[in-house]
Symmetry: C2
Subunit: 381 residues, 2 copies
Amino acid sequence: MIRCKKCGEVGYIKKSGKVRGRQRYYCKDCKVYFSEEQEDKSPVAHQHQVTITDLARHLNLSASTVSRALHKHPDINLATQKKVLDLAARLDYQPNMLASSLVKSKSFTIGIVVPEFINSFFPNVILGAEEVLAKAGYKLVICHSNESYEREVENVKLLLSSRVDGFLISLTQETKKYDHLKAIVAKGIPLVLYNRICTEVDVPKVTVNDYEGAFKATEHLILNGYRKVAHIAGPQTLQIAQSRITGYKDALKKYEIPVNEDWIRHCDLSFEGAKRTAAYLFDLENSPDAIFAMNDTIAVEVIQLAKMRGISIPAQLAVVGFSDDIIAQFIGLTTMAQPVREIGKAAARLVLQRLKNRDVHIESKILSTSLVIRSSSSHNH
Amino acid sequence: MIRCKKCGEVGYIKKSGKVRGRQRYYCKDCKVYFSEEQEDKSPVAHQHQVTITDLARHLNLSASTVSRALHKHPDINLATQKKVLDLAARLDYQPNMLASSLVKSKSFTIGIVVPEFINSFFPNVILGAEEVLAKAGYKLVICHSNESYEREVENVKLLLSSRVDGFLISLTQETKKYDHLKAIVAKGIPLVLYNRICTEVDVPKVTVNDYEGAFKATEHLILNGYRKVAHIAGPQTLQIAQSRITGYKDALKKYEIPVNEDWIRHCDLSFEGAKRTAAYLFDLENSPDAIFAMNDTIAVEVIQLAKMRGISIPAQLAVVGFSDDIIAQFIGLTTMAQPVREIGKAAARLVLQRLKNRDVHIESKILSTSLVIRSSSSHNH
DNA sequence: CTGTTAGCGCTTTCAA
DNA sequence: TTGAAAGCGCTAACAG
């Protein structure tokens, strides 16, 4: 015999009152539904996690009051607030973000898409972004596309479904279509591209000065006496690969060294691709005496292969990479360092700005690089 | 003059009918609320993302029918289904996971906590876990604690709030209290510990055979003629550090080499810590001729410092690491390889199992290691 | 086969 | 200072 909490009347069983298998009762007088569980006041979270209504029931308060207490709303009796907070702590109440995000249409979550996890680059970008976002009360949801266009699109869909408040994206080497990005923009959700950007969508971007970096890296080799400088470039789809090629070419031009197209090799960002490309250059009749590689992973593979073939570095071959990955210092690789963590921070700051003010145009950010000289290109190191 | 969609009666303005600032109207006859927007049938997503009710309105269907169509429920007219699917595609409808997870009390999300991102270890664990989870229709939410106990606790709270269906956790080197883990278990949420585990909570665990790995690594050094084998251990809090110490000691005992406690140095998992500890061992009056390091990062630092000091490897000093991090092959580091990706996969499989059947006891998984011999410990490599 | 209804857990007016 | 009511977007039981 279940009785109404309010008036004590015996509950009326409504046929349509069954919800999710559980019979609920209805009070004709109070016009309110209630269930058996409502009688149970033992403060033990059982199957489901503790909810705001559980707290309310135990304290004979309304859900709204509990909500206000939890948020330390000014219009609340401090004694009530304390009661609620104490019980919440005792029962290890964790607010249901799904529910609150749903009503507020805001998840306080930013989605980041990274194309790979092999180098230390993206983990560090994540670290930087997280630092800035956490301070602003945002969480970061990490997705990685594994260099696959399809997965990138899936990731975007997933994050869209999770109703993230903003996007931080670095494209895969395969990405040639940008409809998924345009869809984000069309929905009015802040998007920032970083590192692997594209020009097809008009959003704020974070990059380093790739052109200048490549220029200086190449120049460094030339100034160290190397004249036959080759370049292992990244996939043609990548904007940054293009910029670095131009930087490389312009450096050669500055010193009036003719560009040998045979010495510019595109290569995907896998270990095997790098090894293959290095082998190609080594096997050339007229082989280069220096290689500027698109990134450190490739540069390291070059050095590995050179060692295996007994080519001495830097005497017979100089190598320069790009990024200053952790591995570079162990190998003694000269490289163009990027402020990796700063890239993440800058990207995070830009989405945050966008989130604050959706209308104002936001400038892209170009960070600068700096050459770190090590033994792979210089006898003095 | 707003009219009821159903009966055409003029809408009745109820004072309490204002929701979120927007005036809604009420039809006394049909007992239904409606708002001005309901008149607007232009199929253009504006501020908010397209919802199931948007689709329903445009097609003059009910939300449930649309829901059924989207899920390809069998009880649906195929023509209707097609209409819905087409419109959904046209408007780039993305289901609101917040809402569906809320009603289903299930998010199809697993939370993973990693302590660091410096080595390639955790990224690879993530890759493995994701692979298995994706196949089962689950997403992975990545959190990292940055080796901070506080952040670990925060991460758990966050994931709890996000209502993840399960947890994959690897502890920080600081973690000595386990209440946050016990809370997860108390709530009945599946939890699997991996790599950095603890014995204080009774949940399935995924590890490698650390004892045996350490034993064999040490044995390898002994068999190669090194008698003064030191060990740089991890933080004392870590279970795996303890197991590896025991393995190391037992190997020495097997060959009747006395254990020199001065040669067992604990060290935190930072670059600086590693360097300091290496320096300590080198500076010892009676310094070791071989070092078995807790992980590859430490081993690499040892080699770096040895090179700087002109100590030749492996002639004067042999080094063995643990993990077979990417860096090991570049440096030529002998190391005890762990099936890293497999650890992630195994952990994922265990949560999934737990999710399927909450009551059955699930066995922990111990994967095996294998020695990869390179030049840091052997002249033939 | 489709619509109605109730509710997931939370926030937010408005009324008391 | 508190409570009642409505609704965020979606699903599911039930009725037609």
